[in-house]
């Protein structure tokens, strides 16, 4: 992990309140893995004070792409950055997805909801490089919430979409798409990132089908590197559950380790 005070924005794309930035940061990129994240300063003054955690969307040589949705004051400022400007970033942070297993010839299903699609492009490419058969399921409220859908197909990744309002793809939640996919052909591994209710439902589906699932959690973070203890969630590791840091122990956890809020 390192600090890059001036990562140049080489590319900016936006779709309504979704934004993609490509950052030139060779030293950070060299250490990056799918599922890791950056802590990004959104301005140069003391307000907003804290960096924002943004997950890695892709690695392109010495550059890293981040993809995010405007969700508050910090991300709104970040969305105003233009090509040629620089960003102060810290990263790569977190453990990322566990890709130690042999994925050759294995079927991996990646489930993303809304901005939770961000890490799955990087992950899909990496799994494919490891010889996995990759299927991506992408859900959102409406067609406008699926801005990077064509990017997956253009990269040769098999993708299916679902929208809550039926404006594109299969009508309904992405978890419906997941159940249909499992019925068609059981995957060997699931990877999930999205809103909490969606991840919780996907974790339930994975448990019922005895499919190992890795879940990428989102949290407000003070620092991103383990110093503030602000980003905890209840994680069970043979101990009945403790508050563990999302930034340091995660953000990716095996589905069985997560004790969902209200489930205690």
């Amino acid at each position: 992990m390192r600090q890059e005070p001036a990562a140049r924005i080489a590319l900016r794309q936006s779709w309504d309140d979704y934004v993609l930035l490509r950052l030139e940061a060779p030293d950070v990129a060299a250490e990056a893995r799918p599922g890791q994240f950056l802590m990004v300063r959104v301005g140069e003054t003391l307000d907003p004070l804290l960096r924002r955690p943004i997950s890695l969307h892709a690695r392109e040589g010495g550059s890293l792409e981040i993809f995010f949705q405007v969700a508050g004051r910090g991300t709104a400022l970040l969305a105003e950055k233009e090509e040629g400007e620089t960003l102060d970033i810290l990263g790569p942070l977190g453990r990322g997805f566990d890709l130690e297993a042999d994925f050759h010839g294995r079927r991996a299903v990646l489930v993303g909801g809304g901005r939770g699609i961000a890490p799955l492009f990087y992950l899909g490419r990496e799994l494919r490089a490891k010889g996995a058969d990759v299927k991506v399921l992408y859900g959102g409220r409406s067609l406008r919430d699926l801005p990077v859908r064509d990017k997956f197909a253009a990269d040769g990744l098999d993708i299916a979409c679902a929208t809550d309002d039926g404006s594109f793809g299969r009508p309904g939640f992405v978890t419906g798409l997941l159940e249909a996919e499992i019925a068609r052909r059981a995957p060997d591994a699931l990877f999930v990132c999205g809103p909490d209710p969606m991840m919780r439902a996907a974790a339930g589906i994975a448990a019922a089908g005895r499919i190992p699932a890795q879940i990428s959690l989102e949290s407000l973070m003070g620092c991103g590197f383990g110093a503030c203890w602000g980003c905890v969630k209840r994680i069970v590791r043979g101990d009945g559950g403790r508050w563990r840091k999302i930034c340091e122990d995660g953000p990716v956890f095996p589905a069985g380790e997560i004790l969902w809020e209200g489930a205690e």
Partner: protein, 312 residues
């Protein structure tokens, strides 16, 4: 000529007056990937109860205008794990380590000190008598002079190491509390801990923190911290260590001018993991620019009023 930043607290000599504040620097090891722990005056590690502690449920953080409200609730590993797993690495890193001591009651403070007294590699204890997040309504010993004096006296009697009492800003008269800590035998006081605060989500009409109340830190609190350091320094002869919203070398200089002999850097560590070493460097540059030979020459030099200017 390079300004001399060496700092003498009487009971402890420091390379420079910049310390990392407890609760914002983990156990120190989280920062070794960014900086040398020996490059700063010292580090005050995260608060230690005797046993491991769960802390509060999330959400534990809210960002506010120029600040941060936290209600972590002193989650931590306890003294035994700290001594076994952390302290040997801090000794190897040649850090000047101050342990932040917590207790659910007065007896636990003493038990923590008695345990840590048997460990090597600690320079002093900072008594956390001022955390607003562990009892209801922000109650803590540092809210009253009597409880401050009595607890400090018990800890001082039990300890073979110097005692720094960390004071709360949530009081009517900080001078009275600082004097009580001195009367109890404290070797120094540090202030301010966080300001008891509330953040509300108007749409849901619910508090933003699970704990309802939390402690405010960051640049937003600096003027209050400076005022309290100024008042405390006038009330005691023991050294005052100032903290609250320091993000630059010039901020550190302001605290020294207000009467602090050393300062702690807190929330800034979250944004810039090298904040402590950067601020030490900036303080040196400030002194060089202003023709000040020793940063200690700044301590308690606040002049007369009337030099305010309108910001443009």
């Amino acid at each position: 000529m390079t300004p001399d930043l060496s700092t003498d607290l009487g009971f402890l000599k420091l390379r420079n007056p910049i310390l990392a504040a407890s609760g914002t620097f983990g156990y120190g090891l989280e920062f070794t990937q960014f900086m040398s722990l020996a490059a700063v005056g010292g580090i005050v590690v995260k608060g230690l109860y005797y046993g491991p502690r769960e802390g509060n449920p999330p959400p534990r953080l809210v960002e506010t205008a120029g600040g941060l409200i936290n209600a972590i609730g002193l989650q931590g590993v306890g003294v035994e794990a700290f001594a076994a797993d952390v302290l040997p690495k801090l000794r190897a890193a040649e850090a000047t380590v101050i342990a932040n001591v917590c207790g659910a009651d007065d007896d636990e403070y003493v038990r923590v000190i008695e345990f840590l007294d048997r460990q090597e590699g600690l320079a002093a204890y900072e008594l956390n008598i001022s955390c607003p997040n562990v009892r209801r309504n922000g109650l803590c010993p540092a809210l009253r002079p009597e409880t401050t004096r009595d607890l400090v006296a018990r800890c001082k009697a039990a300890s073979r190491r110097p005692i720094i009492a960390k004071l709360s800003p949530n009081v009517t008269d900080i001078a009275e509390i600082a004097a009580a800590a001195e009367a109890g035998g404290a070797d120094a006081v540090s202030l301010i801990n966080t300001l008891l605060s509330l953040a509300i989500d108007a749409r849901t009409r619910r508090p933003r923190l699970a704990n309802v109340l939390g402690g405010l830190s960051g640049p937003a609190v600096k003027p209050i911290a400076l005022r309290m350091v100024y008042q405390a320094a006038a009330a005691v002869r023991i050294p005052v260590i100032g903290l609250g919203g320091i993000t630059s070398g010039e901020d550190a200089a302001e605290f020294l001018i207000a009467g602090a002999r050393a300062v702690e850097v807190g929330t800034a560590n979250f944004v810039d993991p090298t904040a402590t070493v950067r601020i030490a460097r900036e303080l040196s540059e400030f002194c060089a620019r202003e023709g000040i030979a020793r940063s200690a020459d700044l301590v308690g030099t606040l002049g007369k009023g009337g030099h305010g200017t309108l910001a443009r």
